[in-house]
Amino acid sequence: MSSAKFNRPPSTRWHILVFLTPTLLIYTALMVIPLASTLKQSLYNRVDDTLTFVGFSNFSKLLFDPIWATGFWNALSNNLVFFVIHMALQNPIGIALAALLANPKLRLARFYRTAIFVPTILSFVIVGFVWKLILSPLWGVAPSMLKAIGLGWLFAPWLGREDSALIALSLISVWQFVGMPMILIYAALLSIPDEVLEAAECDGIVGWSQFFKIKLPLILPTIGIASILTFVGNFNAFDLVYVSQGAQAGPNYSTDLLGTFLYRTFFGFQLQLGDTYMGATIASMMFLLILFGVCTYLFFVQRRLQRYQF
């Protein structure tokens, strides 16, 4: 840790204020206050047409009343699956790609790096649209390609089946976002001091064993950041499901994530009118879940990781 060793008396340190003020001002005014005013509504509801403070009864409704609880637990468990698939695929693939790219002798590295990141910059509208086209059983490219290599029987309308739609969407999302961990970890790998690697080479540690023994421990903090960003991103995910399966997250709510559940409730959908109060309750639950996850990470994981920092 390199926090300042210059501990001057606080009264003279106006610059801290100057550095912090713009961020705190904009962030508080445009994000914290509006969000707080929304979250506050999770403690209110309409009772006999008047707005009443109801304490935590919205929360107990969300967690225990079958009308809400079924939807909530379904969305939560789908969200966990979504997250697990990302952790199991997106980050390892990202690390592997970054490790390959970081080899200084590799030619075309820039081309590969740029190309692999392209999906990440596409809008959800494009991603949802193009994968639906590719996986469409009617003009789909996937069935004809599978047929061409003799695997035509393997094809199924994945996005339309309850047992496969969520997995298919998770994979599409992994495809889209693999560039994020890749870039982060690539930057971390490049910033490992040459002396460290030279020393390792002198000791005969090269290739994959160099990667696992020397580099991996050094980039663990970055992998930590990538994981926590994935966690936060996954539990806020909404757009991909929305553009490809609609706000009803079909088939039969099998792709419903907390984000889509929240959107349907808060803003309403089709004939369903928006319910600000229950919507705010779901938002608060999501917020607490994410907060819990992030704090767990900060307090347990990152503390240990700090030791390896250089």
Binding site: S136, G160, Q270, L271, Q272
Partner: protein, 416 residues
């Protein structure tokens, strides 16, 4: 850096102020992105020509975001002057929240029958808050070329309908029916609400359901689900992942014989299909039975209570009630039938076919739209899910019906 930025900001703020026109500009909020060309090229010029000094801007939002975006804008006071109204409960809620105003005194509002106005009138039938614009009718559109090639004719009864589907399937060259379940609303709207009125006897059954005298588990309401289940044998490969645009393309490219439809398809299909189109109403149980059609008011236009140009907006609304508008609109958008009492001459043959059913069959509205979708779980939205599930075979018709009724019972108490 920051100076440059402030200069940029000042410039943008200045420009947007400059853009304010001198005469009155009305903005129409709508979900009909499909109709931009028609509004910009036909409807608005016709109005502006007759009313100099009023400029109209048609500003549609993609249909899926319309409700959410409109509500946010209304809450904050930035919505347009004229609001396109969804039928029944959604717009009624806007009126109850005083976002829309009463149009009882609007010149021309009396040119609409009470039935036409019902979709935008309070429960006590006293106040109308949107000018009815159009209704849509359900039925089946078919590819006449395929039918004549296979020597088939439009079915009248259910048995004939399924024999027909069998025949097309046996031939093997065409998909019998273009319908997908992944978008869900297709299954509910073009499936359940299309064939359903025949089983629950149109308005009679709908009012009995609203009044609590019938239940969704009763024969008239569960039977259409059983029929829908039988459809699954006649849909295209991978119908479970087939989207609504997929279905449209499947039909208009000549690869499917029948399209369970709403009349709104007429415009696009007439334009895109390279073959002759025909239509038949939902088949009945046995020959000679009364037929029922879903003739559903779909689009209205209301006045934003916060509009600063209320007078100009009322002028526009009165114009929407005229014969000129009705003729212009119905012909520009064949399949959207104007609701006013003025007789309208239609040019499109297929649209005429749909309209002719009004004379032969009993009309009703979609069963889930009025009153029954005011709570959570929302009956209309759940019907989407249930219809798709039944066709996909993951829920039995009986289980689906029971789930819907249980959901309804949880919040809806019929008036005694």
């Amino acid at each position: 850096m920051r100076k440059l930025f402030l200069a940029c900001l000042a410039a943008t703020a200045f420009c947007s102020n400059m853009a304010r026109a001198e005469n009155t500009t009305l903005t129409i909020e709508s979900w009909r992105t499909d109709d931009i060309a028609i509004w910009q090229d036909k409807i608005i010029p016709a109005f502006e020509k007759a009313h100099p000094g009023i400029t109209v801007r048609f500003s549609p939002t993609a249909p899926t975001e319309y409700n959410a975006a409109l509500n946010a804008k209304l809450d904050a006071g930035s919505a347009g002057d004229l609001i396109t109204c969804r039928p029944f409960d959604a717009s009624l809620a806007l009126y109850d929240k005083q976002r829309l105003v009463s149009l009882n005194d609007l010149p021309g509002i009396d040119d609409f029958s009470p039935v036409a106005k019902a979709a935008w009138t309070t429960d006590d039938a006293k106040t109308t808050f949107c000018v009815p614009m159009a209704s849509v009718i359900h039925g089946f559109i078919y590819n006449v070329d395929i039918f004549s090639e296979l020597g088939l004719s439009a079915p009248k009864t259910n048995d004939e309908f399924f024999k027909l589907l069998e025949a097309i399937k046996a031939d093997g060259r065409f998909v019998p029916m273009a319908l997908g379940t992944v978008d869900q609303w297709e299954a509910a709207t073009m499936g359940y609400q299309n064939i359903g009125p025949t089983y629950w006897k149109g308005e009679e059954g709908r009012l009995a359901l609203v009044g609590g005298k019938e239940k969704l588990t009763d024969e008239g309401w569960a039977e259409p689900y059983r029929v829908l289940k039988r459809w699954s044998d006649f849909l295209g490969d991978g119908y479970k992942a087939q989207t609504y645009p997929d279905s449209q393309n499947l039909f208009t490219l000549g690869r499917a014989a029948i399209f369970p439809a709403g009349s709104w398809e007429i415009g696009l299909f007439s334009q895109q299909a390279q073959f002759k189109l025909g239509a038949f109403p939902p088949p009945v149980a046995s020959a000679g039975d009364t037929c029922y059609i879903s003739d559903h008011p779909d689009i209205g236009l209301g006045l934003n209570a916060a509009s600063k140009n209320a007078d100009a907006a009322r002028t526009f609304l009165s114009w929407v009630a005229t014969e000129e508008f009705a003729t212009l609109y119905s012909n520009a958008l064949p399949g959207f039938f104007a609701l006013s009492k003025h007789p309208v001459k239609l040019d499109n043959a297929l649209a005429k076919t749909f309209l002719s059913w009004r004379a032969d069959c009993q009309s009703t509205i979609r069963s889930t739209y009025a009153i029954l979708s005011r709570g959570t779980p929302n009956l209309e939205n759940e019907t989407w899910n249930a219809s798709a599930n039944v066709i996909n075979g993951v829920e039995t018709p009986e289980a689906a019906a029971k789930r819907l009724q249980d959901g309804l019972d949880s919040w809806y108490k019929p008036a005694k």
